[in-house]
């Protein structure tokens, strides 16, 4: 049953009431900063329990992701839906239909995708989702002569570069044509460039940063920038079972300790981005459940194969054997990672090659022998470049210090130079560093995002990310084979074989795949597993009694 507006529970203990009326000064500013107090009166019969509040570290820059730049955000899966999506329910990277009623037909050798759009999908303004709206939306982004090409400063062009055109065949059939084959296209159909908005909203010049024309299970009821966003369940969402809680609040709490305090005080029901140490301490709290999230992430050290001594395979292998990855994960990361055997984490499923690649288990004697064989019996001097830290880079300085100590044991005298993130990344992608650390989260679940960009010979700096300058015909052949097909009989094996070859050549020191943590109110129901992407996802099924 839905609670009426007047039945909404008052949060917080009654003692707080005693403090009411405290600082009268609040009045003059509160009036100017409190906006949009009204909620829609529409309510959906199937909602259960009371509203839930999520304590998130960062705010969504815009209601529609496409209208802003920057990282993805927790609100996205609640509000938006694209043609396809990742499997929320089973918390996997399996691609399933979103606004499309079923997976698309792949025609013309992968140069045309035919989508059947759901007959019961609606945007939040009540407009039906149609092939016309989606075709218009896609063409707006790619056709400079489209009347609404200037509607937004499109940051999606990179992702749309292989899309030639989109055509509405009939009300609910959409054909998307490719200019060239793109094996990652199915993953890209899960992104916001394929959500569409009503044509009427486009023609009216809607402000997608602040106005909600999305088609997800929740719609924006109130947004106070910098502080919070409140969503309410969208009555006309196409899935009955998704979107259980009547309302979902997003409270922006940038500071981790403050997020934890808010969870322990019962003010929020779920928090993201906590460290392994905090996760461990929260496990003692019976009112809190801690969830582990194994990710696609990989943390590695790249070695420039053009530069001495890293042009010698034996040196690169020695650098790998010298590192005690398990101890690093245990002592520096508090156990919050899985050891890496190859570039892809186990979360890549069929593409994972950790079981079949050459393993560089910790063996300093072997490392010393390899160095001696390569003519570096007395070791050598080098500098490892790292960054001073940023979300998604784990603990770059501490991890570099650990590596420094391990390499010192085999005679490698390694200095550490830590740079501010953007300066570091600019110089790294320019190919300036002989060895450098990096954490990498692919933006989709397709292995191409890790393998092709980092290891194909066409991807070397200054324009691309193959900073180890791996230029191996066999790796190229296998990556092209995998990237050039959607055939499940060929693609996974090609990428597994490519990884075997890459690991043999050791252009990276393979370190770890991050395990992230989140915590929630133990009373929260309908939320069995955290999605590896970390973007909320199956939280859309959560509710609180």
């Amino acid at each position: 049953m839905t609670k009426s507006r007047t039945e909404l529970p008052k949060r917080g203990p009654s003692r707080r009431d005693a403090l009411k009326g405290g600082v009268s000064l609040a009045a003059f500013s509160a009036a100017s900063s409190l906006v949009g107090l009204g909620y829609s009166t529409v309510a959906r019969a199937a909602t259960r329990g009371s509203p839930i509040v999520l304590g998130v570290s960062a705010e969504a820059n815009a209601i529609h992701q496409v209208a802003a730049a920057g990282a993805s955000n927790q609100m996205l899966p609640f509000v938006q839906r694209a043609l396809l999506m990742y499997d929320n329910v089973n918390a996997s990277y399996k691609i399933v239909p979103g606004l499309a009623a079923e997976m698309p037909e792949i025609l013309d050798d992968g140069l045309r995708f035919r989508f059947r759009i759901r007959d019961n999908a609606y945007y939040h303004d009540g407009t039906k989702v149609t092939a016309d709206a989606l075709a218009n939306w896609i063409m707006m982004q790619i056709d400079e002569n489209h009347p609404h090409y200037d509607f937004l400063n499109w940051t999606t062009k990179g992702r749309m570069r292989t899309v030639a055109k989109a055509v509405a065949v009939d009300e609910l059939t959409l054909d998307v044509y490719m200019s060239e084959f793109n094996a990652a296209m199915l993953d890209w159909f899960t992104e916001h460039q394929f959500e569409g908005v009503p044509i009427s909203a486009v023609e009216a010049g809607a402000d997608l940063a602040n106005e909600d024309y999305a088609a997800g299970p929740y719609k924006v009821a109130r947004r106070d920038k910098g502080n919070s966003t409140v969503l309410e369940r969208f009555d006309d969402f196409y899935l009955e079972e998704e979107g259980v809680a009547p309302r979902v609040g997003f409270r922006i709490i940038p500071e981790m300790n403050s997020r934890v305090a808010a969870l322990e005080a019962g003010e929020v029901d779920w928090i993201d981005s906590i460290t392994a140490e905090v996760a461990q301490s929260l496990k003692d709290n019976p009112n809190v459940t801690v969830k582990e999230r194994k990710t696609l992430y990989v943390w590695f050290v790249s070695m420039d194969m053009r530069k001495k001594p890293f042009d010698d395979l034996r040196v690169r292998q020695a650098m790998n054997y010298a590192v005690d990855k398990e101890a690093l994960i245990r002592d520096v990361l508090g156990g919050a990672a899985q050891r890496s055997y190859s570039p892809l984490s186990p979360q890549f499923g069929d593409y994972y090659a950790g079981d079949v690649v050459k393993k560089y288990d910790y063996d300093p004697d072997k490392a010393r022998a390899l160095l001696a064989e390569a003519g570096y019996a007395d070791g050598f001097k080098t500098t490892i470049y790292t960054n001073t830290g940023r979300a998604g880079q784990l603990k770059p300085l501490e991890m570099s210090q650990f590596l420094q100590a391990n390499w010192r044991d085999i005679g490698v005298d390694c200095e550490i130079e830590a740079l501010e993130w953007t300066a570091f990344e600019q110089r790294r992608t320019a190919g300036e560093f002989a060895i450098a650390t990096r954490g990498w989260t692919p933006s989709t679940g397709d292995p191409d995002g890790v393998l092709f960009q980092n290891f194909h010979s066409s991807m070397v700096p200054p324009t691309q990310r193959n900073v180890c300058f791996l230029q191996d015909p066999e790796v190229d052949r296998l990556l092209e084979l995998g990237s050039g097909t959607l055939d499940p009989a060929i693609r996974p094996q090609a990428f597994v074989d490519a990884q075997k070859r890459i690991v043999d050549l050791a252009p990276w020191v393979f370190i770890c795949h991050e395990i992230a943590y989140e915590a929630h109110n133990a009373a929260l129901e309908g939320y069995p597993a955290a999605h590896p992407s970390g973007w909320g996802n199956s939280l859309t099924y959560a509710w609180k009694p």
Binding site: G12, L19, S29, L152, T155, N227
Partner: protein, 317 residues
């Protein structure tokens, strides 16, 4: 007086120009590229360059600076690179929250700090004096992120008397002044503590200086009670330097109480600026710094005018 105000306002022009230069170039001299922050890790260089062109960041820096100055003179602070929203509206959506927090903190600091300073000065050399000054040293020395977290743990998590952060109960249908006040107590107290200590020490030394003046001795000789001597004769004169301290403190706080706003997730100017600096959101940072400079200059001007109101010896113009 009018001439004085006009003169002061005119003299702010070179200051603001200096701030604009500093804000513009210091960000660009610092390493870091907003486009890299905006794009996913697996973006290609072509995608990155495309976005750089679209944002106009491929233009020479001087061209960008003069374009920005032209915009500012036309009253347009530009558009956020990340949210695509007008900079002024982003700033103004946060400023009232910062103003509320800063003014509350300053009032708390005065209400607590001045009596502490007065007591210390009038009981000079006693245990009360020492206790007051030790209290103020502790208040001044405590890092406010630490104090904030302790207050959150005690009053938010253990006792559950007060909320741990935010500005209001976000899920409540109606927002009340009382609700905002409850959320304001802990951050305002945290912010006020250091300023309270500063004001207490300043009040003490300023009052001690005045208490040694001849006219105070005269007042005592007239047989006035010590209370009247201090409150009516000494305190008013000792307030003059304190007003300038308050002017500067308020100016600082209005620029954004960065750490306290972060700890209490208070949606103010400080958190906006910090986030924008780490994103290299140039227009927001430039606009925010210019705005903070204007507020700082204005609060100092107000302090100067208050001088005249408190001290009849000072007349402007």
């Amino acid at each position: 007086m009018t001439r004085f105000i006009i003169g002061r306002l005119i003299s702010t022009i070179p200051v603001l120009l200096g701030v604009s230069l500093f804000a513009f170039f210091v960000l660009r001299l610092a390493p870091g590229d907003p486009v890299m922050m905006m794009m996913p890790a697996d973006s290609t260089q072509a995608e990155i360059e495309e976005l750089r062109r679209e944002l106009g960041l491929d233009q020479p820096v001087l061209v960008q600076y003069f374009a920005w100055l032209r915009q500012i003179l036309a009253g347009n602070f530009g558009t956020s690179l990340f949210t695509s929203q007008p900079v002024l509206s982003e700033i103004m959506s946060r400023f009232p929250n910062t103003l509320l927090l800063a003014v509350t903190a300053i009032i708390l600091a005065i209400v607590l700090g001045m009596p502490l300073g007065i007591i210390a000065a009038t009981r000079r050399g006693t245990a009360v004096d020492s206790a007051s000054m030790v209290t103020s040293v502790i208040g001044w020395s405590m890092p406010n992120f630490w104090l904030g977290l302790i207050l959150i743990m005690v009053f938010g998590v253990w006792l559950r008397w007060l909320p741990t952060g935010g500005m209001y109960d976000m899920m409540a249908i109606d927002r009340t002044v009382g609700d905002v006040a409850r959320h304001l107590i802990l951050p305002a107290l945290t912010l006020a503590t250091a300023h309270m200590a500063y004001i207490a020490r300043f009040t003490r030394s300023s009052l001690l200086e005045v208490l040694g003046q001849d006219y105070v001795r005269t007042a005592r000789a007239k047989g006035l009670s010590e209370w009247l001597v201090v409150m009516r004769h000494a305190l008013r004169n000792s307030l003059i330097p304190i007003i300038s301290v308050l002017g500067v403190s308020l100016g600082h706080l209005l620029g954004g109480a960065v750490i306290v706003e972060a700890v209490f997730s208070w949606p103010g100017l400080g958190t906006l600026l910090v986030q924008s600096i780490s994103n290299r959101d140039f227009p927001i940072v430039q606009g925010g710094m210019l705005f903070a400079a204007i507020v700082f200059i204005f609060s100092n001007l107000v302090a100067d005018l208050l001088y005249a109101a408190v001290d009849p010896r000072i007349r402007y113009g």
